[in-house]
Amino acid sequence: MSNKFISIEGIARHYPKPGGGRTTIFEDLWFSMPRGDFCCIIGHSGCGKTTVLNTLAGLELPDEGVNVVDGRAIEGPSLDRAVIFQGHSLLPWRTVLGNVAYAVSSKWRDWSREKVNAHAMRFIELVGLKGNELKKPSELSGGMKQRVGIARALSIEPKILLMDEPFSALDALTRGSLQDEVRRICTDTGQTAFMITHDVDEAIYLADRIILMTNGPGAMIAEVVENPLSRDRRRIDLHKSADYYPLRNHLIDFLVTRSKTFADELPAGYDKKRPPVVRPCAEPPVPPGDARKVA
């Protein structure tokens, strides 16, 4: 059971085409992840990554299939699943503390104001914004706003953290330090997280497993890549690991060529319900159970 904390079971999503018919973004998508796992999903724009995340958040419901979290089907948005949006989506008329406290008081409706604020402050400190709690979002830099978004998401102590390209609008330095924060928080607390990204290095640094999605429409999960890098990896010396380049090349190779051609040349024995698991690493490759070997 703990092996399938989140389970995506055969979901499909269609949009009506202008002039009749419908476009299938994806269908019969299967995937599961254990508790405490950090998963990144990468693929080109328009492949339906955000739609997958929205169905996990409950903001959209799949047309077919079902998402199961902790043994219960998702029927709508829930406080068990926090979302960090691409834009920071803070409420501009509230202060930093007000934004986080709003989430806290939504989760624990009978808490006193002091208790709510104390709880919110704990998470504002966690993301390193102590001293800024009375500022409005407009007074903060882009990175600080996103930190508030992270604090707000974590403050409701969700079962899953869902992130839709949370750092894509930030400059490289800020992005790096926020990746460090997120990784530290998620490993320290055993937070289960699901994240969309375009950034291969971000995925390598953060994710335990990386889901590769082919181009849409009709996108599918091509592979699940297990991250061979050690769990105590650090962002600054990722590239020193022997496994870094095999992994990175594998991901880039997928994004550049295989994401287009994968659907036309399905590998033998490809099963939508069990997408192949690969673990690209330096010689000698470690066989991950039933996975195929990838050069």
Binding site: A57, G58, L59, G76, P77, S78, L79, R81, A82, V83, F85, G87, S89, L91, P92, W93, Y102, A103, S106, K107, K136, P137, S138, I156
Partner: protein
């Protein structure tokens, strides 16, 4: 220039005012003494005929009159002779009463229209037809059905201030950013709490803009409405002084109408600044 922009603007304003007052003063000087006439006849004709004085009062006459009114704004010597303070208070009372009744209806209905695409489409034709009707066109209907001129005036204010508020509220509510609504959805916020903690603050600047337009229209309309219904109010005062041929009092009233209108507008502008959020 070392002086700030504000100081320079004030200086230019003062110069314009001075030039205007000077031109006004020169313009109403009139000719000097005209042909001599019988003293009895001259008494009847007044200064206009005997000394060639212009019928239009000059700025000094008006200034003295304003001083006179400001010294005793609240005197009451019968139905046709009340201080401007009393008249303005009557007008303000009608405007505020009609306006707040309109707020009570316009904001909830605007919310409903903004939240529900169905109601938006269903109510749109009614609003589109009602909006361009001159509020004074309602007056006969109001007088006939309500049978009370005072309440009819309030009704006219109500009907003219309701539309801008309703339309702006609906627009503000429907234009609330999807991402803020998604925040509320992921936090499982109840609909009532969502309305007050997300939609209302997000739409508040737009709503206040509508309220500001409405109070301006209401203040425009009250003068005309009071000219029709009579009895009390600054509009009635203007018409009564016209019948008295006291142009000085008419000018004083015009100035006061402008000043009060500005105060109403600035009050709402200040509230709007409080609820506006920088993004």
């Amino acid at each position: 220039m070392l002086a700030s922009l504000n100081a320079r603007a004030t200086l230019v304003s003062a110069l314009i005012l001075f030039a205007f007052l000077l031109a006004w003063h020169m313009g109403v000087q009139g000719s000097k003494a005209v042909a001599p006439m019988d003293p009895e006849y001259a008494k009847l004709m007044g200064l206009t005929a005997t000394q060639g004085k212009s019928a239009m009062p000059g700025p000094i006459d008006v200034g003295l009159k304003i001083w006179e009114h400001l010294n005793q704004p609240f005197y009451d010597r019968g139905p046709n002779d009340k201080g401007v303070g009393i008249q303005l208070a009557f007008s303000l009372g009608r405007v505020l009463l009609g306006y707040f009744l309109a707020v009570l209806i316009a904001l909830p209905v605007g919310f409903l229209i903004g939240m529900s695409p169905l109601m938006n489409r269903a109510l749109d034709p009614f609003i589109q037809v009602m909006k361009p009707i001159s509020p004074l066109a309602w007056m006969p209907l109001a007088l006939y059905t309500i049978k009370d001129s005072a309440i009819s005036a309030i009704f006219v204010i109500f009907i003219c201030s309701i539309w801008p508020m309703m339309i702006n509220t609906a627009f503000g509510v429907s234009a609330v950013r999807k991402e803020w609504l998604n925040v509320a959805r992921t936090l499982e916020v109840t609909p009532l709490r969502k309305a007050f903690t997300i939609i209302l603050p997000a739409a508040a600047p737009t709503i206040l803009t509508g309220m500001r337009i409405s109070i301006g229209i209401a203040w425009l309309v009250i003068v005309a409405a009071e000219m029709l219904v009579g009895g009390t109010g600054i509009g009635y005062f203007v018409w009564n002084e016209w019948n008295n041929l006291s142009i000085t009092n008419v000018i004083v009233a015009i100035l006061l109408i402008g000043v009060v209108g500005m105060i109403l507008d600035q009050t709402l502008a200040r509230v709007a600044r409080i609820v506006t959020y920088p993004e």
